[in-house]
């Protein structure tokens, strides 16, 4: 949208509002009897979005129901990671939401890149891994162990080969009848 701030109906009187400094209550400039919450625009420096497909120009097909296009439009730079790089992605392609190359800065081929979340048509979410992450995230020391095991000093290939031992294999096996 490109606007510096936006009026929002809601949030007045809540502790969410009180705990944030990016929202204030302001008078409607066209109606002095009305006040609304006004929220500061959120403009991330970089957004990273994972797509099913992308082409080399940056056109991409993203999951259908998310607000990824809005995030892309709000961000200064947009990196699309994709399960597949194809010749051409167009607005007529089915199975996802189209995002135009005009909103995209760079494209990266990253199969499995949504893990432990899933990608429709490619793989299911890895519920076991999400549970492992949630257990780790509840405790500082456990979370450090998680990072040491999967993230710090690990390459993408090492990560993918570790997690592929788990439910991703089961997912493929379960789909074997099709």
């Amino acid at each position: 949208m490109g606007v510096p701030y936006i009026p929002v109906r809601g949030l007045a009187g809540t502790d969410v509002f009180k705990r944030r400094d990016d929202m204030i209550i302001a008078t409607n400039p066209f109606d002095p009897t009305e006040e609304t919450v006004v929220a500061l625009a959120q403009n991330p420096n970089v957004a990273i979005l994972h797509a099913q497909k992308a082409d080399r120009d940056g056109n991409a097909l993203l999951r259908k129901h998310g607000e990824d296009v809005m995030v892309a439009q709000a961000s200064h730079r947009v990196i699309v990671t994709a399960e597949e790089i194809v010749d051409k992605v167009t607005a007529d392609d089915e199975g996802g939401q189209f995002i135009s190359a005009i909103n995209v800065t760079a494209v990266v081929h990253a199969p499995g890149g949504a893990h432990p979340a899933g990608v429709p048509g490619y793989y299911e979410q890895d519920a076991d891994h999400i549970r492992e992450y949630m257990r780790a995230a509840s405790d500082e020391a456990l979370f450090r162990q998680y990072l040491a095991k999967y993230v710090i000093g690990k390459t993408e290939e090492e990560y993918q080969s570790m997690v592929r031992q788990g439910s991703r294999v089961e997912v493929h096996a379960a789909g074997g009848g099709g």
């Binding site: 929002v8 109906r9 809601g10 949030l11 007045a12 009187g13 809540t14 502790d15 969410v16 509002f17 705990r19 008078t27 009897t33 009305e34 006040e35 609304t36 259908k64 129901h65 998310g66 607000e67 809005m70």
Partner: protein, 246 residues
């Protein structure tokens, strides 16, 4: 003539809330809202066949709205929204964020969106809670996720709203900005409800008994609604286990 039929808490609340859904209106419930989902489908199957219903946690009945539901509600076009909370207080505030100190909470909840936005913009709000205790109905909530009383300069629908619990139906009366008992379910007295509420419910005299679910309502809930929930990926596991055999 219908005779009273035994039912569980979820069935009771689904039936009572279904009666509040109006035909031709747009009514919605958020994620993890099994009881409202059943209530919406029951209303559609009975008195509200032309209602527009939106079940955000459903595979097939979420209407693929994405952010459209947000803007629908912001425009004031959403007639009814279902909501729950872990705590309610005397002033009409409710909490769906944290229990305990917000900076070091004992319990963290999904919280913010519906509370802070939908509950301000939907025309009518129905709250539901599957317990009625003094830990739920407290003098002051630990965290204000939604403030149902705001200054008149904040333009929003200002209808009375209701809370459906295992014991009673509470109404927050906008004229007095306080709760009162609309009705008490069979098997409880207004005094018992007051004892399990951490703030005054006003007069306990002349409070009617909540009309219990009829045999027809429960039958439809346990057959047509249950099947529809299973068919449409609307909390099928919940429907199978919670909704009783007809």
């Amino acid at each position: 003539m219908t005779s009273a039929v035994a039912c569980n808490t979820e069935e009771l609340l689904a039936v009572l809330m279904s009666r509040e859904i109006h035909d031709w209106e747009i009514s919605a419930c958020g994620a993890v809202s099994m009881i409202p989902a059943a209530a919406l489908l029951l209303a559609e199957a009975t008195h509200a066949p032309n209602a527009d219903i939106i079940i955000l946690g459903s595979e097939q009945l979420d209407r693929n709205l994405g952010k459209d539901i947000h803007f629908l509600s912001q425009r004031g076009k959403l007639d009814l929204f279902f909501h729950s909370a872990i705590q309610f207080d005397a002033e009409g505030n409710f909490n769906l964020h944290v229990v305990g100190d917000p900076n070091a909470p004992e319990l963290r909840l999904p919280g913010g969106y519906g509370s802070g936005l939908m509950s301000y913009t939907a025309k009518r709000i129905l709250f539901f809670r599957t317990e009625h205790t003094t830990r739920t109905f407290v003098p002051k909530v630990d965290f204000v996720s939604g403030a149902m009383v705001t200054p008149p300069s904040i333009k929003r629908p200002q209808d009375n709203f209701k809370i459906f619990t295992t014991m009673a139906v509470l109404v927050f009366d906008r004229a007095t900005n306080s709760y009162r008992l609309e009705s008490v379910h069979e098997g409880f007295t207004p005094q018992q409800v007051q004892e399990r509420t951490g703030f005054s419910l006003g007069s306990l005299e002349g409070i009617p008994v909540t009309p219990p679910p009829t045999a027809e309502e429960l039958h439809t809930l346990r057959t047509e609604v249950k099947e529809r929930m299973i068919e449409t990926g609307t909390y099928p596991q919940w429907a199978r286990t919670i909704l009783q055999p007809a």
